[in-house]
């Protein structure tokens, strides 16, 4: 085929895929593997892969889609809620390395504009690389994770805005007050105009789309692509870069504006196409432009930039984090977590190279900086979190908090009251009598149908961390968990599945990653009766050695009719007993008999 050299494209994709998998296996983000394989197999070293116009086109569409996807993933509300500590960490983690990077380039006789570019690249924090390592280090529910996410998010938004500011000036020949204010004015007009469209026009489009039932997912995707490219073009017209427009379009394309299901579907396609196909082409070909000669010709600059990036990021974050009152150790930990540079850095560096603002040498240094800082994250973050953990300073916190429990029957109410000791709990039930009873016992309870979005909204489901479905009807439980998953993205779903062969089975939990309550099939009614008639005993037992909940049930529940309901952590913190959990040796299990 004329434009497309299929073999070259195929090799680049296979290389990206292999590099990404290898990086993931070793605990690093895929982008690291993609960059490295691009450097190794690219024209500079082995020359197996080569650049082409077709690859550049696909890569450019890829970064537009990726920036749009990053924008879609950012929720304005999250930004607003990002909290004081997150803002502090973001500013410190951006400003200090920015200044260090800037003056390093000035010191080496770089242009002012190149220095600003390097400053941004050094200041950026990677968003996408976070979640995996937080899971690995079991940090997801800690305050650190929350600050890290918010910090990376604010820092990237900050970097993109400053980038927008700088890029406008590049084309301006004579730097005088009039031309500068013209540049600034155009940028302002772009931001104002895109906000107008995003805030007032998108909801209209969203309503039109949700009304016409014939329009399917494909049409939605087409329209979103047109919106993303339209915003890119607006940004370019305003003298900014297209990726900023794509990012802004992504920010305004969000649920609430478009229907939840549509938003989820379309972001899914953007994710698959950008991260699964086009963006890796960009990162592999970015590796093509890396010159290994910098290790000989510019070694001092390379070392200074990397050192400035690492020290600036960690020290800057820790320093600015002090006013949060969470201590310098937590600040250092957050600094090590924010030390990676990801997609946004490479994209900015790539644009700088393409526009001739930075040289191949500086570009290569920035890529090596991204690689080496990203390499440090797992090691440094493991080390600092263990340090905090040993000192007992690892504070738990979560953006989504508390439990949403469907079913205010005696068993649900019993569990709700126990969880309520340390957590926010909201009960839902359609039975007025049960709702009344639960309210009397001091549990926040919503009266409504557990399969309706309205009810979930009244229960503030978007802020809940765990959904437990505890009605006697397994199928209602499953459908409600689907709603919690699909429309409210509640990360943890625990579902009661009744015993018996004829109803829903445990296999229906897998597609949404839900877990089975009580770690085995259980009928609600007998236990609800026992509780309401007060014909039960509550036991609390120590756990002899680390085991999974399944193993516990196998060991203890074999010959007796017992129901393990909660696990009590070291600090007295209770959590529900379900299939996808394990119990440590110093924890306790509460069971009913």
């Amino acid at each position: 085929m004329a434009e497309l050299q299929i073999l070259n494209l195929l090799l680049v994709l296979v290389a990206a895929w292999a590099g990404g998998i290898l990086a993931k296996r070793l605990g690093f983000p895929p982008i690291l593997g993609e960059l490295l394989i691009g450097i190794i197999l690219g024209p500079g070293l082995f020359g197996v892969l080569e650049t082409s116009g077709a690859l550049n086109t696909l890569a450019e569409v890829g970064i537009l889609f990726l920036m749009a996807y990053i924008g879609m993933e950012i929720n304005f509300k999250d930004l607003g809620k990002a909290s004081w500590p997150g803002l502090l960490a973001a500013i410190g983690g951006f400003v200090v390395p920015f200044v260090l990077g800037y003056y390093t380039i000035i010191l080496f006789d770089g242009t002012n504009i190149a220095a600003l570019f390097v400053g941004i690249a050094v200041g950026v924090t990677s968003l996408a690389t976070k979640s995996r390592i937080l899971v690995d280090l079991k940090l997801l529910n800690t305050r650190i994770a929350y600050v890290l996410m918010a910090g990376a998010l604010i820092s990237d938004t900050l970097a993109l805005i400053i980038f927008a500011g700088i890029i406008g000036y590049v084309d301006v020949g004579s730097v005088n007050a009039a031309s500068l204010s013209w540049v600034a004015g155009k940028a302002m007009i772009f931001f104002a105009f895109s906000a107008l469209i995003g805030i007032y026009f998108f909801p209209v489009v969203g309503k039109l789309l949700s009304k016409s039932k014939t329009i399917n997912r494909t049409v939605h995707f087409t329209i979103m692509v047109i919106i993303v490219l339209g915003f890119s073009e607006l940004a370019e017209l305003a003298g900014l870069h297209g990726i900023l427009g794509a990012f802004m379009a992504g920010l305004y394309i969000r649920d609430g504006v478009f229907s939840r299901q549509v938003f989820k579907d379309v972001t899914g396609v953007f994710h698959d196409v950008s991260i699964g196909f086009l963006a890796p082409i960009f990162f592999v070909t970015a590796g093509f432009n890396v010159s290994l000669e910098v290790f000989q010709t510019n070694l001092l600059l390379l070392i200074l930039i990397i050192a400035g990036a690492v020290i600036g990021k960690i020290a800057g974050t820790a320093l600015f984090y002090l006013p949060s009152g969470h201590g310098w150790r937590e600040g250092v930990t957050i600094g090590t977590g924010m030390n990676g540079r990801g997609a946004v850095e490479i994209i900015i560096a790539g644009i700088g190279l393409q526009m001739g603002i930075i040289s191949t040498e500086i570009f290569s240094i920035l890529v090596f900086m991204a690689i080496s800082t990203t390499l440090t994250v797992p090691f440094l973050l493991t080390w600092t979190t263990n340090w905090l953990r040993k000192r007992g300073e690892l504070v738990m916190q979560d953006a989504r908090k508390g439990y949403l429990i469907l079913g205010a029957n005696p068993l649900g109410l019993y569990i709700a009251k126990q969880l309520q000791e340390h957590n926010e709990v909201v009960l839902i039930d359609a039975n007025k009598h049960l709702v009344h009873e639960a309210k009397e016992q001091g549990v926040t309870t919503i009266h409504g149908n557990g399969l309706k979005e309205d009810t979930f909204e009244m229960a503030n489901a978007l802020n809940k961390n765990t959904f437990i479905a505890l009605t006697g009807n397994s199928e209602i439980n499953l459908l409600a968990a689907q709603l919690a998953n699909n429309s409210f993205y509640i990360p943890h779903k625990i579902v009661l599945i009744s015993a018996g062969e004829d109803g829903a089975g445990l296999d229906l939990l897998d597609p949404m990653g839900a877990s089975s309550m009580f770690a085995s099939k259980t009928d609600m009614a007998p236990w609800a009766y026992k509780i309401s008639a007060n014909e039960f005993k509550e036991h609390t037992v120590d756990v002899a050695s680390d085991c999974t909940t399944r193993e516990w049930v196998k060991k203890h529940g074999k010959h007796r009719d017992i129901l393990p309901v909660l696990i009590v952590g070291e600090t007295g913190y209770k959590r529900p007993f379900h299939y996808k959990d394990s119990i440590s040796a110093n924890e306790k299990v509460i069971y009913l008999e």
Copy 2:
């Protein structure tokens, strides 16, 4: 951005979208609007849009993905089942216009290879354009629809194989026995090798992927893209064209090999990206290459090609269809339905132009042929089907036949026995007693859990046309309908939703396009009791005038406790009474009281 001219890409996409929508509104396939808007706004006429390397790259990726998607949609089993009449129609509809097209070009002093190319283009039938018009003309359950689908499918496969045969010879300079057999040999090796990989290697990959639970949809998409590009490259290595490889890859990527859910997800992404984004770029830019001068310089050839295409397709189909014994009128009707040329024709013509096999003039003629033949379809097919309908010769038939009913309770059994008069019916129930009872009464009944794939497989769900969920538990009904929809693609789902506020509501039917049984919320138990105790009356009433089922229920069910169960068509053919249906004046309604 360097390679990508965002504005041009944006304009092309907006033009494609607008053209596609306009065409759809007027009852034509989107490709028609895309081609026309490309001709009108392209460099030839208004010059608003222009071609570029970036557009060509995206268009080429687009047709690779589109061919892969077309391949994925073709099921080997369907091809096997395509039946004798379908094969006859396909061969007749391909061979006769092929011969006419071939000799027309030869007559006008064209080269042998150009004549072969035009022959294929004239012989092709469009696959994608069918389904919409079949719905509009209410033909979906007729034998014509079935033959049309099978015919288009076989004809396209046939065209692609002959195309493969021809394309191999284009590069061969000296035509002698040795070089010709080398070309044929390479093609054979490609088909054999791809079959080996598809049949033996894909299932292994599929098993690996389904085992590792960490692999998500994005990774699946990446792997499928690599497979599609890999097959394309293999085809190119064998001297064939890349689109053939993509098509073959699509043929072998199917459910059964990869898990059902994965297959559905990934084909969805291929569909969105190709049809929603990249392929329209190909069709719009194909319009760019059209020269309007052919109307002056080559008018006779243009008329002859179009006449040959239309007459050859219709007469050829009707002629070859005679041995089926279904009469020449049905043959003519099928011929008018197969007269449209779609994506595959334009792709083949585009390749011919790109390779220099056909001139711009011939290419333009082929595009106008595609446009004008596609334009004829709605008019001619409406006319011929009305003709058949008036003569009472419109025979009903469906690829998927009969009903799958969940719930062998007395109400389910009652409906099953009535539907069984004209249809294949299979009941499913988990209750052994009910299963036994239903079997005694002569209904095929499967004992099993209605929420398990195994049970559906035992009931041969992949061949069923309609799924009715009739248990007393609305949520079981919904989950079962989800399974029928997601894993067995049963086109019609009718779900009983119980009355009452606390359970599943009618809103949960929309996402899978299901309809509500009895056209209103109904409790199963009272009616099941009445039927088993024989305390009910069955009434059959005429319908005064055309109305929807909703209107019927509003009119008749307001003050009395009745249950409309079936609609009896003119010919005595019974169908279930549900929300998404309407009743004609000469039909009857059976209701219980």
